[in-house]
Amino acid sequence: MPLDLDSQTLGDLLLIRGLLEPAQLDEAERLCEAWNVGLLQVLQSRRWLKPGELYRALAAQYDLPLVNLVEDPPDTELLRHYDSATMTDAMTIPLRREGDEMVIATARPGPATVLHIFDTYGARVRIVIASQLDISLALQRAFREEQSHEAVFGLADTDPEMSAKSVITAPQLLVIYALITLFLAGMALAPIGTIIALNLVMTLFYTGNFLFKALLVWVGGNAQEHSSRAIAAEAASMRDDDLPVYTVLVPMFREPEVLPILTAALRNLDYPLARLDIKIVLEETDDETIAAARSLELEGVFEIVQVPASHPQTKPKACNYALQYARGEFLVIFDAEDKPEPDQLKKVLAAFRQSPANTACIQCRLNYYNARENWLTRMFTLDYSLWFDLMLPGLERLGVPIPLGGTSNHFRMDVLRQLKAWDPFNVTEDADLGIRLTQKGYRVGVIDSTTYEEANVSIPNWIRQRSRWIKGYMQTFLVHTRRPVHLVRTIGPAGVLGFVFFIGGTFLSGLLNPLFWGIFALWMVLGAEVIEPVFPPAILYLSLLNLLAGNALLIYLTMVAPFRRRWTDLAPWGLSVVGYWVLMTIASYKALKQLISNPFYWEKTQHGLSKHTASELAAAKEPAA
């Protein structure tokens, strides 16, 4: 398809002004054709021009004045009369009234925009040009308060039962109180019987947990190859000119050092950069990262969204805020140090096309590029391989709600907005959203495309991160068990069982482990007589089965996990997973303490500590040099 007239004129103008080399224009024209977009979008996806130069040329092309909205800010009251989403989509805003005329600024001049302006603002208008960045900033300033409120309270106001704003509800407190009373009464009236009963429940829980995980690995391992080939084939056959706009959210907080890794990875995506709507989401108080992002002089498709300071200061709140400026049909979240596989977005689109209509989210696999750095990174890699490569596909196959992983979850924008996106009060908002999607009748799929991240190299840092995850799982468990009948009705008995073992089991086993380790130590040191009163033969044999077969099974599953990626050298490290469980237990108790004392506190994970990240950073900076 030849270039449209506007693009041709703009190209000629840039050539005449010496802002673009002929070879660059040839390349840009080729991309316009391949991506089926205008020259302006292509130029915004390249760093050939400074934004000021581009918009000056644009203004000259249309013979319109160029305004600087920082020096000449728009009338906020006027701006707030109009719908921010529409203005964001059109990149067009009203500046002020001048007599009976309204001044309209646009970053996308052209016939379609003129029609939109006439439809929205009437015929008596004067059009000026402003940069996309200026318009975006103006919108963020004008709608700051309500959008910040929406980001924090959107879910809590519309669907309070699904929000973790209340950590625990009165009926839940009552149930906990009743259970404690029952336990205390039991201890007073029949202490041995009570302990045996409690012991039985915990032992059965352990057995169920082991068996459920084995089932997941079995089913997940079988399921993994089923649809992968069809998805890969469709992704490979996709034409770039037929792809939707894809929003990429990159929430960051005080991690300026790793930003180049992500920007390099996004440039490497097999997806037209001009069809990406990339939002680097930063807290407005995070001057250091904002400065670092600006200093990179990124392409126009990279937009910095500054999130107003408010509580809770969490990643989901930042994402909710940025979501209001998202223009894509689909959306994905990446962390700053992420390296998604280049064909991931296309594979996701293919997966959406091949999935049932109610599929609202596709979760990609996560793994680590510094797997072999130290013991912790090896264990973390085994953990993630088990989780993402085997267990999540198992959950998908069994129809159990999938707790989404922190990044690389891709959403249909309409569903995400309809559900009020992430819960800012939940510190594992992704896991919570996965469960909520299933409860609302949507499906979450898992596909075979990996995003590589930086595994935590430091134990204290790992414990902080894991304690947040476990606290989030506790919040998620509390939120979704508020209405047990509703839960059963929406996700079915098998889903509830899976939810209890997968979400509940994750933190409960961490909390209960030390108790059973202690009992085992007592047994070994003081002999069977000490524990026999509370371990009648049936429970003793079941506990022994858990201790030996159950733990061996979990160790084995950990060893099997890296085989899908053929990382067989990691398998023997699975033998040391018991040490990793000890760390999980520490993190579980830290999480429990925080759930009570500081439920919404976001334990920040420090990225960029790995020596591999340094080399990734160097590699990411290389092409730019």
């Binding site: 391992g221 190859e225 030996l548 067989t568 050298d569 023997p572």
Partner: protein, 476 residues
Amino acid sequence: MTRATGFLLGWAALATALLAPLLWVEAHGFLSGAVIADWGRAILQVDGPALFRATDPLYPPLPKVLTLAVQGVAGRPGLPTPHIVSLAVGGLTLLVWFGEFRRRGRYSAPVAAALVLLLALNPVFLRALSEGPGAVFLVLGTWLYARSLLDLRQSGTAPDMMKVAIGLLVVSMAHPFGLLIAMGSLPVIVLAARPSMIAASSLGFMVSMFFPAAAAVASLLFVSLVLGSTFLALEPTPAGLAPLDELSLPLLTGAMAVIVLARLVPAPRRMLPLLAAMAGLLGAILLNFVFRFESDPALLAAPMLGLLAAALPLSPVNRVRGAAMTAFLLLALPLNGWGLATFGAELDRRWLEAALGHDLGDPLRRERALAAFLRDREGVLLDAERHPGLIAVLGGTRGLVIAGQTSYELAALGGRPRAGYIAVRAPEGSTGGRDRLLAAQPQLSISAPGGYRLAYQSGPWRVFEITGGNRTWDGT
């Protein structure tokens, strides 16, 4: 009919069909010592006193635990409990083979049925069936192991790995010879690995494959330690069997697998896993020369049938394949029968005689006679663990004073027996090891000392009535 119903019906039909050859040899007087032992011990565990704790080895747990479970559920079935487990496992084995021949081997239903029938009628398979569930599990586990090696080579998914590990786990938990199969497979299992699996680390591959079996053995050692029982008790090896005899029958049984293997040479992706499984079995037999875990050539040969069943679907498809394979298996029947007669142990020859219709006499006739004498008597001290045959004939422990009861424990420590009777068996010809009561009361082996009256004597069995002292015991 749903698939599950069809599966269950097929399983039940095959298990029932296998009952005929089992009853046939039993009717002609063949009942293996292993079956008697497992049966009697299961009755003891279920019917014995609450404080009864077996001192016999827990190993191999798979047949023992299943027999125990069936005993607990079935109560007093009409046939030995281990046979019920053998029939169930044997029926399941034949059913999965049929499915495998149809799906993977693409044999027609009649040919697949004929192959399964011929494998089921193979004297080595029937001999394994008579030996109890442990031997049948050896066949099933070896098949699962060999088949899963093929899957691992073809697709290499986590469940394929798990199936290989389960196969090794089943054989090593089913029979002491299974431990040798796991050990024998250790150096050759890499033959079956996809190159990508051992590119990063062959050690990691092997550790993962063998971890379940190693962990299970370690767990059983731990349990033996904390429960104070022995881990493994091996029967003494009968003299007279040359190493060549032990090797000949397995080679004869696995000969057809070698033929299939030879035809697969141009397809290493299918040939190498089969070669690895076969090499593992041969390695196990060689290890057995050293460790002497199993002395019966028929039981050494039984896993070869599992290998053969895994090999049959791999035979290259052509017009004469079905007929050729059927003919080979048909030929294997007399050949393996001859092999049993020529290279087999004494027990194998006895089984063959029974199978051919010769009456061997009742193997438990002495126990039955003693049981008839004890039927209405109370307070009989007995080392029940060492005489499972008697327990099997009695069908329970009513009237007995056994391990776990104070009177027995005192008598076993050499104290004056406090019971109505004491039954002991002289060591000669014992099937279950040394009588612990007789060891504690050695005077009973030579005479009836004061305070005792010889009430019964038949063969090695003696029952003394305790006439003097305290005649009250637990339960009176």
